[in-house]
């Protein structure tokens, strides 16, 4: 178990290194550089050139990459020209917002997927099952940004049940109970909008896995022991069916990153998704690079997480 985890983490390191190189090169290929947004149009070309030399922008790419990566390791991700703030500072507050939004979304995703998948897998080809699979097809087909706009319109504006923007009530004091409630209240609608869409693949996964598992020999053996139907589902089918869902967990995180970019913009939620789109528009290179690196690391961590989860629930993997 431990050797498995340690080996898995060791494999991760070169992955991250490779990722950082690719991201750096991609950023280099974008038109403009860290200086472009900062330049006052009235400055002469010689001054610009001097500044370039001073910032090391004329060095070969690998030297520049080395400068950048050593800075990154020291926690210095550069300066955002748009916000006139260090990137680290800019990202950290929003990162927490996005983190909690993602956690909320994940909880909702599984809270919806597991009961629906169970019901529809256990009673497959009944009317209930057809309604649930019908919903999943709608979920597969509906683009998240249209669906989120609809949710915003119906529950935010029409009924007015939820706030329509921001991450907390202005003026709320951090640390108080009201502050906490307000945070949750602001997260609920965006998280729900995202969860209702991302959950459908998990529902489908769980459904087909349960249909598959309930015909297995060991389920038959459990029946021949006289185990009641509900106990069979609880003790034998459910856990076996969760394996692929657990394996999928890490990729769910990757999906969340993509979803959060849309969702945060639609709900004006101050997270890194919103910051990302904004920075791309403004050519804020250092912020974009930092965020892409962050997203990449999050995906790699996600797959690590699913491997570890899988090795906990499946003894056959644990042993290897």
């Amino acid at each position: 178990m431990w050797t498995f985890t340690i080996r898995r983490i060791l494999i991760m390191l070169p992955q991250i290194l490779l990722l950082s190189i690719v991201i750096y090169l991609l950023a280099k290929m974008m038109p403009g550089d860290a200086l472009t947004g900062l330049i006052d149009p009235n400055i002469g070309p010689e001054a610009i050139e001097a500044q370039r030399e001073k910032l090391g922008l004329n060095n070969p790419w690998y030297v520049q990459y080395w400068d950048w990566i050593t800075n990154v390791f020291q926690g210095n991700l550069g300066q955002s020209f748009q916000h006139k703030l260090p990137v680290t500072e800019l990202v950290s507050q929003r990162l927490i917002n996005t983190f909690w939004l993602s956690v909320m979304t994940l909880i909702l995703t599984y809270a919806i997927a597991i009961p629906l998948g169970l019901i529809s897998g256990r009673h497959n080809d009944t009317w209930t099952d057809r309604m649930i699979t019908g919903y999943t097809y709608i979920g597969f087909a509906a683009p998240i940004f249209i669906f989120a706009l609809l949710m915003l319109f119906v529950f935010g504006f029409h009924f007015g049940w939820f706030p329509t923007s921001g991450s907390v009530e202005p003026g709320a004091v951090p640390g108080t109970f009201d502050y906490f409630i307000s945070k949750i209240n602001h997260m609920l609608l965006p998280a729900l909008s995202m969860a209702l869409i991302t959950t459908v693949s998990t529902v489908q996964y769980l459904r087909s896995e349960i249909i598959d598992t309930k015909q297995k020999d060991f389920v038959l053996l459990a029946r021949s022991k006289g185990v009641s139907e509900s106990r069979i589902y609880r003790n034998h089918i459910f856990r076996n069916s969760l394996l692929p869902v657990a394996a999928f967990f890490g990729y769910e995180i990757t999906g969340l990153i993509g979803g959060s970019i849309f969702i945060e913009n639609i709900f004006s939620y101050p997270g890194i998704g919103q910051l990302f789109l904004n920075s791309v528009m403004q050519r804020d290179t250092s912020v974009v690079t930092a965020l892409v690196l962050l997203f990449g690391i999050a995906s790699i961590l996600g797959t690590l997480l699913s491997d570890i989860i899988l090795s906990i629930v499946d003894p056959r993997i644990r042993m290897k």
Binding site: L221, K225, V227, H236, R316
Partner: protein, 642 residues
């Protein structure tokens, strides 16, 4: 009411297929008494498993209709509620399944799985329960119960897992045990152990046992009474000795035909099913002899009537047997020669996966095949037989040694296209070795596309020809694998293997995934093909019956080494190596009157085996080299006499 333990009366079990109900069990009446083993024999599809499922209520309730009565201790199972049935299952009726590899929950330690059935049916404290589980594990012959309790199924061997399944079945001392092909998936030495265990438990618990099997040898060894099932009906019930001595029904007679020496009954079964197109045509034969069996003919799932004129006659059966005498052909120089083959797999461990040792899967094997012959490699799982085959065709890397094919060394070299073409393989599982997303055309034509550049037209006609050769219609060319039965799929696999006119075919358990009656069809087809195309087979199997039927010479593998090699007859009549002796003695005998004698012999051989097996290995635990016994018989005996 009779005092039988289980009393089945006029049972009719029908399955729903596309809005119609088809009777799988058709008007069956049968009794099982306490302390009695009733064997139900018949080929696959005859309804024997459906009968067992009806007794335990394990059928799919939406698609099954059960009529008639099943009384267990005077309680009618057909009309009990689900919860009452749950009470009965596990406590009064225990069930043993066919495949121990899939019958246990992979995520639960085996101790818990045995405990579960105790929790459901008995009130015990936690300590009592654990104690009881350990006792059960000991009863079924698990050597270290305390350790096994905490193990997961994948950590145990097939035989061990079947013992666990049996422990679950007997946990609550059931009155009735149902064993559905309990040993079909196991090696022959393990089979005899499991059968002995079932016998022992039956004696201890005075339980009634229903033993479902297709293996007449198992019947002869185990059963008190036999029910022969055919096309959903029980066509004959008799005490075992009587049935084997004097079978009444033509179907039973066909199983025990006088022209057929005892040892070959199993083969005859296969041969017949080939000649009579399995079940369907036999129905026609019955109709001829037994006008009363008209009912079978009208059943919609028995459509093939094209050979009504075939009447089971002694002449025909005799012909079948004479055709068995294999061609002692013009055997020339060694066609395939394997010299001192070693295949070792590294064992890795730790964070960096360093190599810490080697599994010596094949540890010095030498053998020779002559053109046109069939060489059979036999051994239990893990003996290295599959690895040997895969090394010859180049699917496993050779650690050391030589593989000479027509005097070309195949080891370590990139093989020329010509040689790649000439050696082909037939795989074990026709369900997973054909790509489900490809049409038959693409599957069969794939080797052609790799090696020959044909036009679409040529390719099309070649594939059509090949399908014709393996007995499939040309229309199948555009179908997908799932549209075929297992036997037909294996034929597709064979068509693919012979597409390039190979000379050597390595067949790794070519029929073990198929039904018994289909096995015969495929094996005999392989024989015909061998004659037509002058093929050489390296046949790998754990089933001694198949090997004996197919092979000219047999090599017995044990722990990565060849321990004995001789002609099929010689191996059976005059086994030399202790392991061969054990293997041969483990094959169930077909004569129920020999039961005691066989059991005694088996025990004796086993004792001898346990005592002397170490003598057959040198100080490094490696079997000795083969020494000639006669000019065609070799065995790995120690230098000095035993």
């Amino acid at each position: 009411m009779s005092d039988a333990l289980l009393n089945i009366q006029n049972l009719q079990t029908s399955f729903k297929i596309k809005d119609h109900y088809y009777a799988a069990v058709d008007d069956v009446t049968l009794e099982v008494n306490k302390n009695e083993i009733v064997a139900i024999v018949g080929e696959s599809g005859c309804g024997k498993s459906a009968l067992a499922a009806s007794v335990t209520g394990l059928h799919n309730k939406d698609r099954t209709k059960i009529e008639g009565h099943i009384y267990y201790k005077d309680k009618d199972i057909v009309n009990t509620s689900a919860s009452q049935l749950n009470q009965l299952r596990g406590s009064e009726i225990g069930m043993i399944f066919q495949d121990p590899l899939t019958a246990l929950n992979p995520l639960m330690i085996v101790g818990e799985q045995i405990e579960e059935t105790l929790i459901l049916h008995q009130k015990m404290s936690k300590q009592e329960r654990k104690q009881k589980v350990l006792e059960l594990l000991e009863d079924v012959g698990i050597p270290r119960p305390e350790q096994t309790f905490h193990q997961y199924p994948h950590q145990l061997s097939g035989g061990m897992r079947q013992r666990i399944v049996i422990a679950i079945a007997i946990a609550n001392k059931p009155g009735l045990l149902i064993a559905d092909e309990p040993t079909t998936a196991l090696d022959v030495t393990i089979q005899s152990q499991i059968l002995d265990l079932i016998l022992k438990l039956k004696k201890e618990m005075h339980a009634g046992v229903i033993l479902i099997t297709h293996d007449l040898g198992v019947v002869a060894e185990m059963a008190d009474r036999v029910a022969v099932m055919y096309a959903g009906q029980i066509v004959e019930v008799a005490p075992v000795v009587e049935l084997f001595d004097n079978p009444q029904h033509p179907y039973t007679r066909s199983l025990f035909h006088p022209h057929c020496p005892n040892r070959n009954v199993y083969m005859l079964f296969r041969e017949l099913s080939r000649h009579y197109q399995a079940c369907r045509v036999l129905a026609a034969v019955f109709n001829h002899e037994f006008p009363g069996s008209q009912k079978m003919l009208t059943r919609k799932n028995l459509p093939c009537m094209k050979s009504v004129q075939i009447i089971m006659s002694d002449v025909l059966v005799t012909n079948i047997f004479t055709s068995w005498i294999w061609r002692k052909g013009e055997l020339i120089m060694a066609f395939l020669k394997v010299e001192d083959l070693h295949v070792h797999f590294p064992v890795r461990s730790g964070v960096f996966k360093r190599i810490v040792g080697h599994v010596k899967a094949v540890n010095g094997v030498s053998l020779e095949l002559k053109q046109g012959e069939t060489y059979g490699l036999v051994g239990e799982s893990g003996s290295g037989k599959t690895t040997t085959g895969r090394a010859v065709i180049g699917l496993n890397e050779i650690t050391s040694g030589k593989v000479l094919y027509n005097n070309h060394d195949l080891a370590g070299l990139i093989r020329s296209k010509e040689i790649q073409k000439e050696i082909q393989m037939i795989f074990q599982d026709p369900y997973s070795s054909l790509n489900p997303k490809k049409r038959v055309l693409d599957i069969v034509a794939e080797p052609l596309r790799n090696f020959e550049s044909l036009t679409k037209q040529e390719e099309f006609s070649r594939v059509g020809q090949l399908l014709d050769q393996v007995g499939l219609s040309k229309e199948s060319i555009f179908k997908y694998p799932h549209e075929f039965s297992g036997g037909q799929r294996q034929r597709i696999g064979i068509a693919r293997a012979i597409a390039l006119h190979p000379k050597l075919i390595i067949a790794d358990e070519p029929v073990s995934a198929l039904d018994v009656s289909v096995q015969a069809q495929v094996l005999n087809f392989m024989k015909d093909l061998q004659k037509d195309l002058n093929l050489t087979y390296l046949l790998i199997s754990h089933d001694l019956g198949i090997i004996r039927h197919m092979c000219d010479r047999i090599g017995i593998m044990y722990k990565g080494r060849l321990v004995e090699e001789a002609s099929a007859e010689e191996i059976y009549q005059n086994p030399q190596h202790i392991y061969t002796k054990r293997l041969i003695s483990s094959i169930p005998d077909i004569d129920p009157k020999n039961r005691e004698k066989r059991a005694a012999l088996r025990d004796e051989v086993k004792r001898e085996f346990d005592k002397k097996i170490n003598n057959y290995f040198d100080s490094d635990g490696i079997a000795y080299d083969l020494k000639p016994i006669s000019d065609s018989h070799f065995a790995a005996l120690p230098g000095e006499g035993l």
